[in-house]
Amino acid sequence: MLLAILFHPRVLMVLVLLFGLALATRVWRQRSAAIVAERPDHPQLPASLLAGGSTWVMFTTPYCASCGQVAEILGQADPTTPVVRIDATERTDLAHAFSVRSAPTVLLADAAGVVRERLVGVAAVRRHISATAA
């Protein structure tokens, strides 16, 4: 009886679907982790975006609810480092070049445009700020 239920075609179809979802989740997490990790092949940010010294470059979208909050946190933590906002839906070239998959994605660029830090989401920004302040 139990076997008949377990091997019912519908149960098997649902198991296949769940397996597919689990696989998609795993691939997604791995890709996210790989992108968050330091990427040596990151291109440099164009000088036109930078403000001389270090610059926070924040990728936003028109529907990003927490980007304003992130800009505020960054501004308060270090008023000397300007925050430049880029709408990822307008600058798809830059969003693609820097593998931006969600907003806010924040890059800390040095004067030469080299990406020194990459933070995704409010929580990551908060962690970074409290770690560097400590």
Partner: protein, 159 residues
């Protein structure tokens, strides 16, 4: 530099929501549709899961999260027991995604009523797969479609 600076994130819009609300909704929807699909293999009547969830999604999408039964359950019972969310999200993309779910489940209901159960379950399982994907990974296909249309609108306005 000024051309790349954008003030779009300061645009006023609807109040941001806790993204875990729609995710809970999607998880319940996935579980219910899959259980309904299996149960239908053992007896009649489980197809009602499609119209029931079409109505549940419709209430939340059309009138706001406080009217969606599972969104309300999350807000009233589950959220108070959790910590604050890491981030908030705009409610419009998930609302649009729920509307797409309503259309699919509505079509599935019509298919069941027209005795086309295979089509009904195909449409229901598409919803289950997409909702499951959104619940587990955050990849919300409906939200992406909304953003795509929103971007197009933006381009047309510029042109």
């Amino acid at each position: 530099m000024s051309t790349t600076q954008s003030e779009t994130s300061t645009r006023t819009g609807p109040k941001p929501i806790d993204p875990r609300g729609p995710r809970f909704n999607q998880a319940v929807l996935t579980a219910a549709l899959l259980i309904g699909f299996i149960a239908d293999g053992f007896g009649d009547g489980a197809w009602v899961v499609a119209p029931v969830f079409a109505i549940a999604l419709f209430l939340g999408a059309a009138f706001g999260p406080q009217y969606g039964p599972f969104l309300r359950l999350f807000a009233k019972v589950i959220r108070p027991r959790l910590g604050p969310p890491d981030e908030l999200e705009d409610p419009r993309p998930p609302r649009f995604a729920a509307t797409v779910g309503v259309i699919f489940l509505g079509a599935a209901t019509l298919a069941f009523l027209a005795d086309a159960a295979a089509l009904g379950w195909t449409l229901s399982l598409i919803v289950a797969a997409l909702a499951g994907l959104a619940a587990t990974t955050g990849i919300c296909v409906g939200c992406e479609i909304y953003l795509m249309f929103a971007r197009r609108r933006g381009v047309q306005m510029v042109a």
